[in-house]
Amino acid sequence: MLNGIKEPVLIIEPTEGIIEKANKAAIDKLGLSVTGKTLDMPFSETFMLVSDNGTESTCIDFSSSRINIAQKEYVLAIGKTSDGERQLRMQLKNLEQEKNLQEMKTSFISMTSHEFRTPLTAIAAAVDLLETRIKMDHMMNAFYQKNIAKISTEVFNLNTMLDEILTLSKIVSNNYEVKKTPVNVVKVIDYLKFQYFSERKDERKLEVKVVGEPRKIPVDKDQFYKILTNLISNAFKYSTHENPQVKLHYHAQKLVISVSDNGIGIPQKDIPHLFNSFYRGSNVDGIDGTGLGLAIVKTFTEMNDGEIKVTSEKDKGTKFSLTFRYA
């Protein structure tokens, strides 16, 4: 009798959830082995089974109701394939479209941020040329100096912003793989100190302190550089007189890296929001920034199985601590 029904139908024994009988439509969809199969208990009024005929898999939605056959209670489940399939295909199609859109967005941002660097580089070079020429002609004065410096600073700020937007857009679209390799952090710090944090106008230096026996940590090199560059830049940016400090403390199982400064600090009320994109502390007036740096730092730290903590006191200074295990 059940074979006369076009939809797949199952008769289920309700206490154990065993499929006792299946009609032809159900066997066609789910295979002969469907009878005798135990369903995950407790099954609800509606449930889904995956049919796999070897070439493609589709889901069948079943809605069930209790019936009595020869004074015994059973569950009769009737499946709806056509509608469910169509719906699923639609959902899949939408998902795919969304994915394509996301990819387009990422490659657009990546392309523009790369292309923007060409004019930025030309502007920076032209400003340098103007400055050199004005000096050579003995025409430099405080006014020129100030405004030339302003153009130059803003060009580099714009460049940093591009970097951060690019990084964040890659994070958002899950475009970052974590490629862990053993990294010597002492070397990384030396490199950064030399490359980015030396020959500063204000003569300040990065102080480095190492405690314990250095060991390598497994992290993605590129991401690790971004984490440290960001934190050290912040330490310089939000303090004025004293040298920022990096301390590497090699414990038995883990390395704790702390980056600290004696700067303006972070007000207590801002700390819970500190790692949100575009959030900036309430006391940063006049200090440039996008509010993206720490969001990136936190994401990369966690992607590399590290932990980040911050302690800060307003007008006293800030300390960020990163913890990475050796294995």
Binding site: R117, T118, A122, L129, T132
Partner: protein
């Protein structure tokens, strides 16, 4: 005697400015707008230093480094890379292929100048 620098860069807006800047700092400057032209100029004029972009048409910066390293007459000329990419991997690749140093775009001329001085004076 003034040192000669070969500048290989495909963006004319940057080439002109950089050429003038280098000349104001008393270098002789030759320019090329792609790697192939750059290699030809290098073979003909034997500059003291090459400053080259990485991403450019015909022969890119990596290929240029390979050609330089294989050529006994070019092997000893230091090549300083200008790169728009800040990815550590790409910088490492250029250094592995024998670059003498690199500067990321945009750059401050005084940083580029400091590197040039270190390499050829």
């Amino acid at each position: 005697m003034n040192r000669t620098i070969l500048l290989i860069e495909d963006k004319p807006a940057l080439t002109d400015t950089l050429k003038t800047l280098l000349e104001l700092h008393e270098f002789n400057v030759l320019t090329a707008s792609n790697g192939e032209e750059g290699v030809a100029h290098a073979r003909e004029h034997r500059p003291d230093l090459v400053i080259s972009d990485i991403f450019m048409p015909v022969i890119n910066g990596y290929e240029l480094l390979e050609i330089f390293k294989k050529d006994s007459q070019l092997r000893h000329i230091p090549v300083l890379m200008l790169t728009a990419k800040t990815a550590i991997d790409e910088i490492n690749l250029a250094m592995k292929k024998g670059a003498a140093g690199y500067v990321t775009k945009p750059f401050l001329f005084r940083n580029l100048h400091a590197k040039i001085i270190k390499l050829i004076l």
